[in-house]
């Protein structure tokens, strides 16, 4: 989430016509994509999967399961 803020700020440069002419077709665009998708989305997905599957029936994740069952997204609790 914190790195996503940097990705969002970097997106303002892409949105500016004049500055974008400088960074377009450079590694800056690749960096922006990885900062937003490669960090924010991918690692959020991994975190979600960690918390989400622990709440599924039959799943076991050590002691963390009990914590999740109290605070996670249980059936009908979101």
């Amino acid at each position: 989430m914190i790195l996503f803020a940097f990705g969002g700020v970097g997106g303002l440069i892409n949105a500016s016509f004049n500055v974008n002419m400088v960074v377009h077709n450079t590694a800056y665009i690749v960096g922006h994509l990885h900062l937003t998708v490669g960090t924010a989305v991918t690692l959020t997905f991994m975190g979600s999967a960690t918390g989400w599957f622990r709440t599924s029936p039959g799943a076991r994740c050590g002691a963390a399961r009990s914590r999740s069952s109290r605070s996670g997204c249980g059936s009908g609790e979101c």
């Binding site: 989430m1 914190i2 790195l3 996503f4 803020a5 990705g7 969002g8 700020v9 997106g11 303002l12 892409n14 949105a15 500016s16 016509f17 974008n20 377009h24 937003t36 998708v37 490669g38 960090t39 924010a40 989305v41 991918t42 690692l43 959020t44 997905f45 991994m46 975190g47 979600s48 999967a49 960690t50 918390g51 989400w52 599957f53 622990r54 709440t55 599924s56 029936p57 039959g58 963390a64 914590r67 999740s68 605070s71 996670g72 997204c73 249980g74 059936s75 009908g76 609790e77 979101c78």
Partner: protein, 346 residues
């Protein structure tokens, strides 16, 4: 309040199996995508690794194409198609309206993935993860990728379930996670039309040799009709996680949805000007929609702030209410739980 009466343990297991199937494909794709990313990093470090990897990975662009397709398309799509219906179902406390349709969707997407993977691995579709004439891929690659779009559209079943609940339980507010899930797939159903039109009417006939050429400018415009909204197809499920799962882990109730539901609608609507602005970088295109773009882009900025604010509210309402001030609550979050720490720091 969810309709708990309709929820059965067997429904939970069935939904879990569907989600697990999607997640397995997604993680396999992520492993492949990360591996090819390492190859690129080694090349930038001066290690020429591709000769030893032939015929599986033959060049830098072959590696980049696999990296992009596996990470940006396969991993994200399969994960979202597993995560969103699962969260939707759990949020409502009701099973999916038509699990058989969801399984058909999964198998259609998997078949399309296999069809697209064969020419991609064979270096016959080294066109990155975009569909950008005059770069031309082998026709099974385009056709297979096309299968993902209707597959994703079939996940409109959450909409059917929500409509049914809206009719039967009008006095109940829908859970935020269910609403955001619906918005995600509604947005994507509209957004994928551009790519579907480009593939069906331009790229596949061109790749099959039925037509001698294609209009690159029109194709790229249609591509960006989908190409920019796809970013929000990736981000909205992350917002679901940030807005509904993380606050709960911080101890807050996520039942107050009035002001967040309109934000989800804005997320799906505001990306439309961005699609047109991205296409203006194409030589020969105009600058239509430029005035809306800064608003659309800057909309990304407040998201982390809103989520952090939600956690501040969690401080006030949750079991960690002993924390005081604007920052003390932050240290009292369950940082030892990886599902929280990953989402917060990334």
């Amino acid at each position: 309040m969810p309709a708990r009466s309709s929820w059965r343990r067997s429904d939970d297991r069935a939904g879990g199996r569907l989600a697990a199937a999607n997640l397995i494909v997604a993680l396999v794709a992520l492993f492949g995508g990360v591996t090819t990313g390492i190859f690129q990093a080694l090349e930038y470090a001066g290690v020429e690794i591709y000769p030893s990897l032939a015929p599986f990975v033959r060049s830098h662009y072959h590696s980049v194409s696999m990296h992009g397709v596996l990470n940006a398309l396969v991993f994200t799509t399969f994960f979202i198609c597993g995560f969103v219906p699962f969260i939707f179902s759990r949020a409502l406390g009701a099973p999916l309206a038509c699990p058989r349709l969801a399984w058909w969707t999964f198998w259609i997407m998997t078949a399309g993935l296999v069809l697209a993977a064969i020419p991609l691995v064979g270096n016959a579709a080294t066109v990155m993860f975009t569909f950008y004439p005059p770069l031309k891929a082998h026709w099974p690659s385009i056709s297979g990728s096309r299968w993902w779009s209707p597959g994703r559209g079939c996940h409109a079943e959450p909409g059917g379930e929500l409509a049914r609940l809206a009719r039967t339980e009008r006095r109940r507010a829908e859970p935020l996670a269910a609403f955001m899930s619906l918005v995600t797939f509604a947005m994507w159903s509209i957004a994928s039309l551009g790519l579907a039109a480009e593939m069906l009417f331009m790229l596949i006939p061109w790749s099959l040799g039925l037509v001698g050429g294609t209009d690159a400018l029109l194709a790229r415009t249609l591509f960006w009709f989908t190409g920019h909204p796809i970013v929000y197809f990736w981000l909205l499920p992350a917002y679901i996680s940030w807005y509904t799962l993380v606050p709960r882990q911080a101890g807050a109730s996520s039942s107050a949805t009035r002001w967040r539901a309109p934000r989800s609608c804005c997320s799906s609507c505001c990306r439309r000007p961005s699609a047109s602005i991205t296409s203006t970088r194409i030589p020969g295109s105009t600058r239509g929609g430029s005035s809306c773009t800064p608003c659309s882009r800057s909309r990304l900025l407040p998201e982390p702030a809103h989520v952090l604010q939600r956690r501040r509210l969690a401080r006030d309402r949750g079991p960690r209410a002993r924390a005081t001030g604007w920052v003390n609550w932050f240290g009292r979050l369950p940082w030892s739980d990886p599902s929280l720490s990953r989402r917060c720091w990334r």
